[in-house]
Structure formats: C-alpha cells, structure tokens
Amino acid sequence: MTGKVIIDLKQLSFAWPGQAKPALSIDAFRLNAGERLFVYGPSGCGKSTLLSLLAGVVVPQQGVVEIAGQRIEKLSAAKRDHFRADHIGLVFQQFNLLPYLNVLDNVTLACDFSHQRVTNLKQAQVSALDEAKRLLSRLLLPESLWTKSVMNLSIGQQQRVAVARALIGAPDLIIADEPTSALDRESRDQFLQLLMAETEQSGSSLVFVSHDDSLKSHFDRHLHLPTLNQAVSTVEPSAVEGANP
C-alpha cells in the first residue's frame, strides 16, 4: 500500500458562500496510504472546512482535491456523495448513530450506501453482518449490546460503534472530527488505541482532527493547520474565534 497517495491537495482555495475571504488556502499537501495524520489548531483555523473538502461535501473554488487517485472537485455532487460512501469513513464528535437502528444495523448501514464496501467484503469473503460483529468485538463492545438500541450505549461505546461503521468494508480514508472530545480520559485512551489498531488492520489512512495537541504523540504525522493554511496564517487565532462555519 505504501507509495499510493491518499490525499493530494494542490493550490487549494475555498471560501464559504457569501464570504469574500477564503476560509482555507493550501499550497500543497499530501498524505500517503496507511499514514495517520493528526490535524490540530485552534477553533477557526479551518479544520471543519478542510474536513468538508476532504469529504467532498464542498468543492474548492480553485485547486485540486485528489482522494485515492480521484479528483473529487471535478465530480458532480451526487458522484461525490457516492465517492464518500465508498472511500471515506467519518466519525464525528458525538451522536454518530441513528437512534432508531440497533448497534449492528448502524454498522452495516455503511454497506447499504456503498457497493464498493460490499465488494471489498465479498473479496475478503465475509458478510457485512459478520464483519460488523468482528469489528465490534475487536472494538471491545460487549456482544450483549449488539442488538440493543444505540440509546442504551455510553458515549464511549457509541463512538466505538461509529468507528466500526467507518471501518467496515475497509475504505481508503477515515476522517475523525474531534471523536474523543466528549470522552473522559480513560475512555479516550482506550478509544485512541482501538482506533489506531483497527485502521492499521484495515489498511486505511487516518485523518484525526482535534484542538487538543496532547494527543499528538499517538500519530506518525502532525499537521498544525494554521501553519499550512495561508488564509488564516496572518490572522491572530483569537480574532477569528467562533467564526468557524
């Protein structure tokens, strides 16, 4: 897998609709397959914007966003959604799960939206359900909870279910947006360990966003976004606090 470029950003510039000033401006950035990147920086440095661009929810006004060899800024909105389903697993800060589905259904839901993930699983000769079970047990989620409503789970457990969903079918890229900020110290460390181990196992690359740079040590690459982002590098971080879209 080494040598394959998973993220390739070139001359990127993006401004949110109705705003003259770009929120993100990156000259060049690359992430190789299997790399685990820690993105940090204060609020307003463009973290959410970067994630939206990587996930293909928005496209830059200028420049290139290439994910796993695909220039997603050239794709239609529907194709980008399709691409996201196939190649990117997302984990949010909190509330990642659909309250009306049980734990297993929440995990396999990712396969309902993606042929690619189903194909990947077929090549590995496992069913979506078996893979979901395998991931959940690897993520130390008690089997007794699998068929329970996700409402019965602690936040730490919910976050691990979200990781299982992001990982099922081994997508190229896992994006985690402050996934530990709602967890206490103990569950945070456990969560990070499991996340690392499982992304490595599936061969996915990881982009982990946080404002807490104490987590840095877990990752092999670090990105201080305010340094890379030319759009905010000249501005005092405190001046744009809370202006993050």
């Binding site: 996930a55 389903a85 259904d105 042929h115």
Partner: protein, 436 residues
C-alpha cells in the same frame, strides 16, 4: 444508485417505528377521514343502485296527480303517502287500452306491525321485476289465490319470525301499534319471498279483494255500500265473495306496454286527462320510473356532492396534519440527516426518505381506514337497512373507491415532498456539520 428502495423503505419504517407515538395520531386522523370518504361514497352509490334496481320492467306508474317523484316514491319505494287515490274504473280503462300489455293495481294504506301491506293482483309475481329484470322468487310457500291470504317479504319474515301457515292481523294505517286492527279477519301466510334488496322485502302482499274485505265496515264508503256489505257479512258470516269486493279505488297502477315505441303515446293519453278514455274528468298522472329517478338524482345530487366535498376536505386536513407532523419532526432530525449524508446519502436520497415516510404513513392510514370502513359497514348496514331500506353489501372496492384511494396515496407522496425538499435544503446547507 447504491441505495435501493428496500433499504430506503426499511430505514423510514424503522425511523417511524421509533416515533410511533407521535405519528400514530396522524395516521389515525387519515384513517378516519378515509373511512368517512369511503362511507359517503359507498352509501351514495349503493343508495342509487338500490333505488335504480327496485323497479325494472315497469314502463309507467299511474296515480293521482301529485308530482312525478312523489308518485314514484309512495307507490314503489313506500316513502311518503298518497295524497289521493285513483278510481278502479280508470285503472280498468287503462288496462283495456290496446297498447297496454299488463297492469298491476297497488292499494296501500294498511300495515302489519310496522310493515306496509300492499293490495295487488296475483299477477304481481309475474310482472313485478327488480334489478336486471329479475322476477320475485318464493323462499317458501306460494302466491295468494284466495281471500285473507298473504305473502310476505324476506325482511318481514326474518324480523317477525313468521313461517308459512302462520296467522296475522292487518291494521289500518301505519305504525307498529295501530288502534284499528282488523282482528276479526286474520290473514293466513301462504308464501315468503326471497330477499331482493328492494322495499318488497319489507312488504306484506295480499289480493286487492282481501284488502277490500277487511275494510268492510271501516273507513267512509257510501252509506248504502256499508249497509249492503254489512248485511251481506252478517247473512253469510264472513264469507264475502269476490264480485262484491271489487275495490272502489286504488293507490297507483303499474303499467307495462306491448311495444316500447308506444310508451310515450300511452303516457300522453293518460296525462292529458284520459283523452279517449271513458272516465273523463278524473285527472291522472303517468310517469316513467327512470325519468322520475333521474329527477331524484338531480335533487339529491347537490347534497351528495356537498357530502363528498366535505369528506374530501377532511381527508385533505388529515394529510396536512401529517405534513405538519413530519415538518415539525424535521428540526429534531437534522443530526439524522447529517449522519446519513456522512455515510454517503445524497440529498436526493434524504428527500426520498421523507417522501417514503409520508407515503408509508398514508398507506397505513388507507389500510386502517379501509378496516374501519368495513367494520362500520358490518355494524351499520343492518341499521341503515332498517331505516332507509338501503342494503350496503360488504363487498370489495368499486372502481371509483379504488380511484379515490389511489388519489389519496398519490397525495401522500406529494405530502412528503415538502418536508423532503426542506430536508434536501438542510442537507445541502449544513453538509456534515452536526449541530447540537
């Protein structure tokens, strides 16, 4: 593309199940409105069918002038009372017209335990046709052929539990407890008719002579008439013979013509005051049943349509209620939308999810509504039959009813479109940003 319809329906069904308490009431509203609409439509069409099928094969109804509709209603449907009678001579004149194939005299005014008694000829069973020119059939017994014999309709037999051979007392006037019971002249039940779904089911039929016989000494015939009849009666002790019991007047006359082309000619002659008839000076009226019914439909059509429109509006308000429930829920479901988008759902799929939701709820409403409708039919049909004589069959949906149901289903899809479009916009505007 990647998300098939099954998943979509499964997702929205699970989502709905999770919010079952909030959506249940809106489903119920739709269900009741659907049941109301179906009931109005069913009663409307069945009333028409029932009326239209009550009389067939009869070309003209003749009676004292009162209005086409009134004549039809009191003579055939047993609704209302005759304002005047027609003379027996006039009836015989009409029967003797060369164009006339047959006539059936009808004498109304008596009752048995709330059921109308109708005096007529034994040929009634040959000429009276209902539905698609079906003749009357006997469930048991036979037609009357003597004095003081009666044939009853299926409903009378069922309600009163009568069998052939039972004795019954005829009363003058309507009402279950008539003061003037002709209890000195009990009738013998000789026949019970099969159910027809027409007012015949609720009739007691006897010969004109029998009816005339029980009125000897009653009412106000000419004084001399009473005296002779009374003397006759006393002398022979209740054995009156047919010739002396010729009726003086009848309520109406059903007429069948030999050729349909002569129908208008016969009708005109009767309407023009008996031109060419010997009985001059007796004004008569002849109506064609179909034409009079047409008048009836014109009259009740307005009310029918008003009822349908009201029922339609109730359905619309049910659907609007459903839309508001889904719209209200949307705010709390922004997170759900963001999650689906993160997994790769397109805004269009989010829209479809909400449309599917509205559609599922509408279908559920239709299903429950249909159930309520049939339940209502089962419970209310006997009561409606008792009161109006309209039998509401528990049968499958008619084409019109199916069309109505389909229109509501499509409306359910449209109802989901607005919340769907909102969700579409939310998913575009908010992307993956999950707001608490």
């Amino acid at each position: 593309m990647s998300l098939n319809l099954k998943t979509l329906v499964r997702l929205s069904a699970r989502s709905l199940l999770n919010r079952r308490l909030t959506v249940f009431l809106s489903v119920l509203t739709i269900a009741f409105s659907v049941a109301l609409l179906l009931t109005v439509e069913r009663v409307r069409t069945e009333a028409r069918t029932s009326f239209n099928q009550t009389i067939s094969g009869t070309d003209l109804i003749v009676g004292a002038p009162s209005g086409d509709l009134q004549l039809l209603l009191y003579s055939v449907f047993q609704l209302g009372n005759a304002s005047a009678n027609m003379s027996w001579e006039a009836a015989q004149e009409i029967a003797a017209m060369p164009e006339v194939a047959w006539t059936l005299p009808l004498a109304l005014g008596d009752s048995h335990k709330g059921f109308r008694v109708m005096g007529t000829d034994a040929t009634y069973f040959d000429h009276y046709k209902y539905g698609r020119k079906q003749p009357l059939e006997f469930a048991s017994g036979k037609r009357f052929n003597q004095l003081y014999q009666a044939v009853i309709g299926a409903e009378v037999a069922q309600k009163l539990g009568y069998k052939v051979g039972d004795r019954m007392i005829i009363a003058h006037g309507m009402g279950k407890h008539s003061f003037k019971e002709h209890d000195d002249k009990p009738f013998t039940l000789v026949g019970i008719l099969e159910r027809t779904g027409t007012p015949v089911d609720r009739s007691v039929l006897a010969s004109l002579e029998s009816i005339e016989a029980i009125h000897v000494g009653w009412g106000k015939p000419a004084l001399g008439d009473i005296r002779t009849r009374f003397a006759e009666k006393q002398g022979k002790n209740t054995s009156l013979d047919r010739a002396q019991l010729q009726p003086k007047a009848i309520t109406a006359l059903l007429v069948g013509v030999k050729k349909k082309t002569q129908l208008f000619k016969v009708q005109r002659r009767i309407n023009e005051g008996g031109q060419g008839l010997k009985v001059i000076g007796e004004p008569l009226q002849a109506v064609m049943p179909a034409v009079a019914l047409q008048q009836l439909w014109k009259l009740v059509g307005v009310a029918e349509n008003a009822l349908l429109v009201v029922a339609g509006f109730v359905v619309i308000s049910g659907l609007v209620g459903l839309m508001s429930v889904i719209l209200t829920g949307l705010n709390e479901r922004r997170r759900e939308i963001a999650i689906l988008r993160a997994i790769g759902a397109r805004p269009m799929q989010v829209l479809l999810l909400l449309v599917a939701e509205a559609f599922i709820l509408t279908l559920l409403g239709l299903l429950i509504g249909a159930g309520v409708f049939y339940l209502l039919l089962l419970i209310a049909a006997p009561a409606i039959y008792d009161i109006w004589g309209i039998w509401l069959p528990v049968s499958g949906f008619s084409l019109t009813e199916l069309k109505l149901l389909c229109v509501i289903a499509v409306a359910g899809l449209l109802v989901g479109l607005w919340p769907g479009l909102r969700a579409y916009r939310i998913s575009l505007a908010e992307g993956l940003s999950v707001r608490l």
